[in-house]
Every structure is written in C-alpha cells, then in structure tokens.
Point group: none
Chain length 417, copies 2
C-alpha cells in the first residue's frame, strides 16, 4: 500500500513552522508497512489545494492530509476534499453534540464557526478529536483510472497534539485494516568513517540489494546505515534485517556504536551507568559541548559529577593542576597538556575516568606546526593513560568542535566497551 | 517570481529526519520576495524524481532541490536534473581540483566516488561547497509551454550545514539577481516574550500591512520579528524598514537584543569584548550549554576564561566553595545556592562577572515545592548580586535547559548593556 502526505497551510510555505507532522506520520506509516512515497505541502488556496489532492493520488492508494480543518475562513480542507472525492457536506448531529459538550467543558461560547465543524462529508468515517474541536474523517472514491479499485483520503487537524492523538486513537486502527505487509528497520550508527568510504566498503551488500535495503546517511559528522525489510510478517522482516546486520558487522564492526540510531552521548551514558563507572571532563576547544551533550541525557548524574571548561592557560593551571612548565614547553595544544588535563579532572572529581580535549577550533589561531583542526584527546582510567591526536586541518569551527566532542565519546566507548 | 522546494531522500519518507531545509529556504526565499508555492518530497528513485521535478515546475519559475548530491549510489539528483533540463554531465576540472584539495586537507583518500562529484551539467552555474565535497549548481531551460521564457533548477546538498552555507554564499546572491526589485530586511531578535503575545502587541503594525511586511517567528524558545520591504531601490527599502523598526521598538523595545538575527551568545560575547569585561560560568542543570554556546563564537577567549559544570552537590562544594550548610538548608535548586555558585566561579577565575544556573531540567526529579522547570540564575558583577527565578513547570528537558541557558545570556545583557 502506497501513501502520500499532504500538509496544508500557508504558514509552512513561509517557513514559520517546522513540519513535524510528516516526520511523525512517515514513521508511523512505515511501521505499519505502508510505503510513504511523497510529501506535499500547499497553501490555503482552494484551487491549488484541489489540484494538489489530485496530484497526491498519483501512484498512491491513500492520501493523508494535515491542517486546514479549523473553524476559520482559511480552513478549507474539508470542503475541497469533499469536492474532489465526489461527496457533499451534511450536518452530523452526533458530532455537533460532541463539539457542544467539549465547548461546555471549556466554558466557551458555541459560535457559528463551531457549528460548521459538524458539517462533514455524507459518507465519511469520522475520527473524533478529543484534543481540540475539529473532527477528522476518511473518505473513499473509485480510482479514476481503474474504477474497480478504491482510493482513500484521510483528513486530520494540523496542530501536532490533536493530530497525533487522533492518529493513535482512530486513524491507525483504521489503517491497520487497510494495509498489508510488515516493515522493520534498524539504524546502525558509526563514527570514524566517512559516508563515501562506508559505501565503498559496503558495496558488496548494497549492490543489487532489494530486500533488505541498505542505505547510508551523513549527519553532524557521523554516518549511519539504515537496514530495512518488508515481509509478510514482522518476524520475517526482523530476521532478514538481523541477517543483513550480521554481514554489515563483519565489514564495518569496528566503527559501529549503536544499532538503534542513538546519539553517541546516550550510548556512552548508558554504558557508563551499566558498568557503574563515573566520568569527569576537562574541555578547552569544545568549551563544554561534551558536558552539555552528556547532560542532555536524563539520569546522567549517576555517571557524571562535573566538567571543567578551562579555556585559558591560567584556568588549566588553577582548575586542573596542569604544570606551567608543560604549557610553556609543549603548548596548550599538545599531548602533554591533554594528559595533564585528564589526570587533573579525574583527581579533582575522584571519578573513575578522566577525559579531556585541547585543540585549535579555528577559523583563526593556527600555525604551520599546529594548524586549525589539530586536537588532542586525553583519556585516563584504571592506571591506563592514552592520547588520541586529531589532525583534520579543516577551517570550519563548528565541525572541528563537533568532531572533537564526538571523539571524546568515541575514546571512552572504545576503552570501556 | 514563484518557487517550489523539492527535498530528495528516502530518509525523509521514513521519517528519520525532520526537514529543516524547507523551513530555512522558505524563510529565505520569502525574505527575498520570492513566493514559495509548494514543498515536495520524493525518495531516491530515478523515475519518481524525474517526474517530481516536472511536477515541481508547475506554476513555478524556479525549483530548489536539496539532497541526493552526495558521492554514493543512491545520490542521483545531479543526473536526473541534468536529464530533465536537457543537458549532459561533463568533467569540470576546476571542481575536481577543488575537491582534491579538500580531500587532501581531510587527509582522506580520493575515491572514484569523489571524482564523480566533479561531473556536472555542461552549461550549469556551479555553487562551491566549502563545508563538504558535493558541489551544487543551477541550470535553466526554456519553459516547455512558453519557450520564450526560462525556468531554473538550483540543486543543493541535503546536510543542513552544507546547504545553508552554500545558500548564503552562492545561491542567495544568484537569486537576488534573478528576482526583481530590491528587497531589504532586518530580523529583530527578542527574548522574554512569547510569539502569541508578541503578535498581540504588534497587531497595530502587522494588521493590513503590505510593505514593509512584519512577521513573527518562533525558534528554540526565542521569538523574532522580520521586517521586510521590497522597493525600486535599496535605499527606499532600507528607509521603509528603518521607519517600521522605529515603531516596533516603541512597542517591544525592552525585549529586543539584536536587529540582525544574531544569537544571544554572539551579542553578549561582542558586548563583553567591547566593554572589556570578562565572565565565568557555573552551570548545573544546563551542564555546559552556556559555555558551549559562548565558545561557539570565535575570539571569545578575550572575555571568557573558564566555566565550571558542577552537576553534583560535591562538585558545587569543591569547585565553587558553595557551603554544605546552604545546600542542606535551601537545597541545590535555590536562590542561595545559585548566588554562591556565581560568587564562587567569579572568585576562582578573577573574572568581572560571575553567572550561574541551578534548576530541575526534568523530565523527572521535580517535587510539588520544586517542580520540573524551576531554575535560578545567579549574577554577580561589580558589587551587585542578583538572582532571577524561572518557573515554567514544563516537562520538556530540552526546552527547560535551553531557556535557562538563554536566561543566563539575558541576565548578563540586561545588566551590562
């Protein structure tokens, strides 16, 4: 079964809001084994909306719309959908009664606009809205080019809270009956290998592969691999994905840190907690990004006690006990300084692991000997001390900082896993 | 001039990523006076992509695509766009040279895939990519139904960092020449007022306004107001915008911190440097977000020396000298602790200003007395000590942390401006 998502609302075309409805619905439909073929967005204009609904039916059995069901003048999805699907609006007394009760509960006055909301296509299936006043509905018609088959439109309100609640309570059960097949996928997260290299290495399993499909993605300096299978049962799909993941693991196992699309911070935080280990951080060029990413994970106080952002040499000396001699002899961006930083923060906090970073984020401040992009990650744990040198010579401050931060998580992960 | 946005990538149809590119481009194009008519999304499939490009040209003079320009097998936007626009791919030696230099800088091996990236339509205008390896391009053709007129496609990479950088450096200047009239706009950044309140207050200047246009946006807990004018000359547009900004300043002056769309971190960093002041930070619930945001600004070492992330009570005592009595009597999330944290970090660093935050980020850990969302910001400077209480009772960890971080910048700004 193939679906298109149609978002209605001029505010989307102005970039005033981010379309999270398509993300939510795409995930939900794919999980139901329904292929999402296209996303469309159109403004609050009757002619363009009517044409866009017809366009959306191209290749697709079902169109799910969000937005344009409200009580105001520029809400017209109901009227246009009804017109395109060849039905007419009639008053649904049960809905009118339901809206009246809701308005009463809100202590709000029932206006003509609210009464209008109970006008719905005569032969539609109604989806109640218990998070707002606009009801949703589904409506079908004969396929124009194949009148023996049916196609459906399902219209839902735009506000995410109303839409997701309506989807879960009413639309999903209805779709489950309509759809066939089961999709299952996992997302392999990697660090330390670029998208292009990844695809070269994975070529034997990607090439000519139809099910499971294997695709690579790049985001924020990390690459991921999505493995997806669609089979008659969920069990078959899961098994096909598991087999493919086994083959992929043989090829790129050393770069993988998650099979479920999680951030490196989350994976490391969970691993630390599981092992009963604590970490403390000393950051220079990343300026607190490591600590901020780690504390983004709820419950991280179990494994993280403190992080010191020592941006100046003086701060490194005073807060971490880095020796002035070390800074003078080797410089702030050096293996020696990185190691003293890691040792210093571990000593100060009494944590099991000390992790540090010092580098030149750029865009300026580099020299021939120590170029922008150079960074050292220091790691101390259980009598072991290790330093990793990063040398990217990239001018981009954001990417250098982000990569240094991820390398800190990578260094911890590789050492304690 | 009318535009359609076409996003390419199966990952979007799976709901794996949120499409922020359309938000960004919609805002930018509207600001340039280009009407965004439709958004489309299609997967990595050659036939469907080709058809979708043709569909996108319906009603529109220009189609902007994002995604599918990478070096891997499922990236095919370049090939298909070239085919639809009636051109052929040829090797561009200057681009090949540019990519080679970039790969060298990454210390990465140049693969066949990378060489393929220098294959571009023969008569295209190339957009260099200095945040990645995939170049973008623009290409035109005669309008199929009106051969005297031209229509354009502009293809950009999908990763937001690469796309936004390419747009700002190359695509926007190119579009400005294509579009008619002179557009000028400024973006007023505010903090401390919600979008709905902002719209109510600004109603007198928004209502019925056609030029300059005034529009409000909400993003990451902040609201901004874009004032745009399109006139015959740049000078006229600038003057119209300046007059409107004067009226807006009278209404919401106390919430404004920038007229040029800058982040609060950047505004505060520049202000500190300009005034020759230094700051140090002590963070609990934000876990380093303040320090990370501040150090995102190049040259910030002039005003920032250190930041201490003291997540546990012990760290607050040891690193900042917070009194155990204070923690016991008032708790970690209290005005008293916030003030001792700010004083402690100022004392340790010898900076002019000490700023601190302690709060309950959630989703758990709240009590009736101290609910999730409660936070205290401590500020000390030049003998002055001040505390701000934030009480949002919102369960969202990200939003609570982000708001607390912005409040720290707000507190500094309001006190030293």
């Amino acid at each position: 079964m193939r679906a298109a998502l149609l978002s209605v609302g001029t505010e989307l075309l102005f970039g005033q809001i981010t379309n999270t409805n398509t993300v939510y619905l795409s995930q939900k439909l794919n999980a139901l084994g329904i292929d999402v073929m296209y996303h469309y967005t159109v403004g609050d204009n009757p002619e363009r909306l009517a044409e866009m609904i017809e366009t959306s039916f191209k290749d697709c059995d079902i169109v799910l719309t969000t937005g344009g069901l409200g009580p105001t003048q520029d809400d017209m999805t109901k009227e246009i959908a009804c017109q395109v699907m060849g039905d007419e609006l009639v008053m649904h007394d049960d809905i009118l009664d339901y809206i009246r009760k809701r308005m009463l509960a809100y202590k709000a006055v029932m206006t003509d606009n609210n009464i209008k909301q109970a006008l719905l296509p005569s032969r539609c299936r109604v989806f109640f809205n218990d998070a707002g006043t606009a009801p949703g509905f589904a409506l079908d018609r004969a396929k124009p080019d194949c009148p023996g088959e049916r196609q459906w439109i399902a219209c839902m309100p735009g506000p995410p809270k109303e839409m997701t609640r309506m989807f879960e309570k009413s639309v999903q059960p209805w779709l489950e009956k309509l759809a066939e097949g089961c999709l299952f996928y996992r997302e392999i997260m990697t660090f330390g290998i670029g998208e292009s290299d990844l695809e070269t290495v994975l070529f034997p399993v990607i090439d000519g592969q139809t099910d499971p499909t294997v695709a690579t993605y790049a985001k924020d300096g990390q690459t991921s691999v999505r493995v997806a299978s669609k089979r008659a049962t969920k069990q078959e799909a899961e098994q096909a994905v598991a087999e493919m993941i086994g083959r992929i693991e043989e090829l790129i196992g050393q770069y993988i840190y998650s099979f479920d699309g999680e951030s490196y911070a989350k994976v490391v935080a969970e691993l630390l907690i599981k092992k009963g280990l604590t970490v403390s951080s000393a950051e220079s060029c990343t300026g607190g990004m490591f600590a901020a990413a780690l504390t983004d994970i709820p419950g991280v106080s179990e494994c993280f006690d403190r992080g010191l952002v020592t941006y100046s040499n003086r701060a490194k000396i005073e807060e971490l006990g880095v020796k002035p001699d070390t800074l003078e002899k080797y410089g702030a961006v050096s293996e020696e300084t990185a190691m003293e930083m890691a040792e210093g923060v571990m000593r100060a906090s009494g944590s099991d692991i000390g992790i540090s970073v010092t580098g030149i984020a750029g865009p300026d401040g580099g020299t021939e000997e120590k170029p922008v992009g150079l960074a050292y990650i220091g790691f101390v744990y259980n009598g072991k001390a290790e330093c990793r040198k990063i040398n990217r010579t990239l001018k981009d401050r954001n990417r250098n900082r982000n990569n240094a931060m991820l390398s800190m998580f990578d260094m911890i992960y590789k050492n304690i896993y």
